[in-house]
Symmetry: C2
């Protein structure tokens, strides 16, 4: 990150000036993006594919704290969490629209930083920024992004397709983003009290999980390559427990998750211990990992067995068997969603 060296007031540019400034940095790359910024609406040619639409809103003081979240990372993350939802449908993101409400306390250079991150993510995920809205805010920064993807109808994966005996699989590892947040919150509190500079040494992995999460484009590509079409899928934004319950509820099944199978990175594990937190609880309820949680037919087991990018953590059951966490001794505990809730957090 570079500190802005000059300060230009937003009012000096005005809304149209700001839109032009943003538009000048955008280069459309998809043949499906027929018209981007600069008309009443963007135009997309679906080229025979189904369209998939998702939207997420990020609010300063609720979803992010600019005290430790650099604007460039925030822009990147705002795009990543949206395209993650598109991948969770087994679709490919093609376009995004970005709306921001921003107060005059931000200079134009801050908006540049934000869009630098947004456009970096656009390149990473191969999406075009085709529209949006910029307006002033009376207080905090609000970012609302809509992502549009495409897929063949037969490739789409919903939350409701899991069968009673399907295997439950998750990509990557869990709980890291939550532990990264704990470290950032702790150092912020220390800084407030003592003025001491943040001590973030040794926490690179979990900080990156929190500040610059990646949507798992690679997993969608891997599954395609392996010839595996999940029977149901969701991305892990609220926590493993909440997402597994969504799959079970929507599919009309039960679910068993084996505690010892849940993938947790050593640095996540160690930091949780340092904070006197149970690593499994962090993985189940922490959220913001943006991994993909999906079910596959037993017949596909051989295709993914041993692949280092994914872990089989359990299986679906009939509905009557309920949704359970299985501990290391084989004991059953009811699975509960204690994940992040927008209206309880603050």
């Amino acid at each position: 990150m570079t500190e802005p060296t000059s300060r230009t007031e937003l009012s000096a540019l005005g809304e149209f000036g700001l839109i032009e400034r943003i538009a000048s940095r955008v280069h459309l790359q998809h043949t499906t993006s027929l018209k981007g910024i600069g008309d009443d609406a963007a135009v997309i040619d679906p080229q025979g594919l189904h369209q998939v639409v998702t939207t997420d809103m990020l609010v300063e003081g609720v979803h992010f704290d600019l005290g430790y979240m650099p604007l460039k990372h925030l822009g990147y993350k705002a795009v990543a969490v949206n395209v993650s939802d598109i991948y969770a449908m087994n679709a490919t993101p093609h376009q995004i629209t970005v709306s921001i409400a921003i107060s005059n306390r931000f200079p134009v250079e801050a908006v540049d930083e934000l869009y630098e991150g947004i456009l970096l993510a656009c390149r990473s995920y191969g999406v075009d920024l085709v529209g949006g809205d910029t307006c002033s805010s009376t207080s905090g920064l609000v970012i609302s992004i809509t992502a549009i993807g495409a897929a063949n109808k037969e490739d789409l994966v919903y939350r409701n397709g899991a069968g009673d005996n399907d295997l439950l699989v998750v990509s990557g590892d869990l709980g890291g983003a939550y532990m990264g947040l704990q470290v950032l919150e702790r150092e912020k509190a220390v800084f407030k009290e003592t003025g001491a500079q943040p001590d973030l040494v040794g926490h690179d992995y979990i900080l990156e999980r929190q500040l610059k999460p990646e949507a798992r484009k690679d997993i969608i590509e891997l599954l395609k390559k392996l010839g595996v079409k999940p029977t149901s899928m969701i991305d892990v934004s609220d926590g493993l427990a909440s997402e597994a319950l969504h799959l079970a509820h929507n599919s009309g099944t039960g679910v068993r998750i084996y505690d010892e199978k849940i993938p947790i990175d050593p640095s996540t594990y160690q930091t949780a211990r340092d904070f006197n937190l149970d690593p499994t609880t962090c993985a189940l309820n922490g959220g913001e990992d943006y991994e993909l949680l999906f079910t596959i037919a037993q017949a596909d087991y051989e295709k993914i067995k041993g692949n280092p990018s994914v872990t089989i953590i359990g299986h679906m059951t009939d509905k009557a068997s309920g949704s359970m966490l299985v501990d290391k001794q084989g004991g059953l505990h009811e699975l509960k969603a204690q994940g992040w809730d927008a209206f309880l957090k603050k």
Copy 2:
């Protein structure tokens, strides 16, 4: 409007509870809406048509004042301003996503009122609410809506297609929404100072223009019926001057608007006079009228001549002739956009 008679805290429902409450009131009506609320993303079947996407964000204290804007009207207006952008592409809106950031000071009943207006607009304009996001806000209410429409490629109308001699046409009348806002602001100030109840008698038309604007679906249908395809089109959100300049700039032409031709409703005219404002200035720069401004080929003149829904207010010219307002004596005045600017207003 009915006053909420009970008060349920948002935290009592939680985010998932609120989403379920909203989803239970939504009934998909389009064959193109394959999947609505309840998965990682909505799914749309384009059925061979091009897709048109637009987004708008409304911020409390910037775009609306809940002191005089009932939540139901706010919901309706938030949808109307978005579908207006879809009509301005000569397309038909099919889907919307709605994201809201709302503080705990609002009860569940307030959210119900807001969505009552949103769903009323969905029925009026024939669109499906297929997704969105709900989150908490640390201060004001923020609404972000994305509208998705569809059209045959050859029917789409952009801002850049006007020819040098095309006629400039506007639907309805202008300046009313701005004058409605002036009346509301005045009565609010009086109420603050003296506690006197608002005197809104006789201002029905302009108040409705401000509080419950309609997108001009009927004009798109009329033009189709008359066999007129505009050469360029835009909706009037920032004011006639700003929009006419957009058409001229994008089309590489000049423009002439005749002062005496600008359609202004008698009640708009009278209220402007009462406020010591020039009615023409209100029409040129007031904004929020959500009428359609478009250009047509001279050859189409006979088809729209005398139609009470539209008014020919001028014509395009070669670029070198500039963008001009022609006064009643034939004098030329440079057309300037002094419309609403998001970063200057507050």
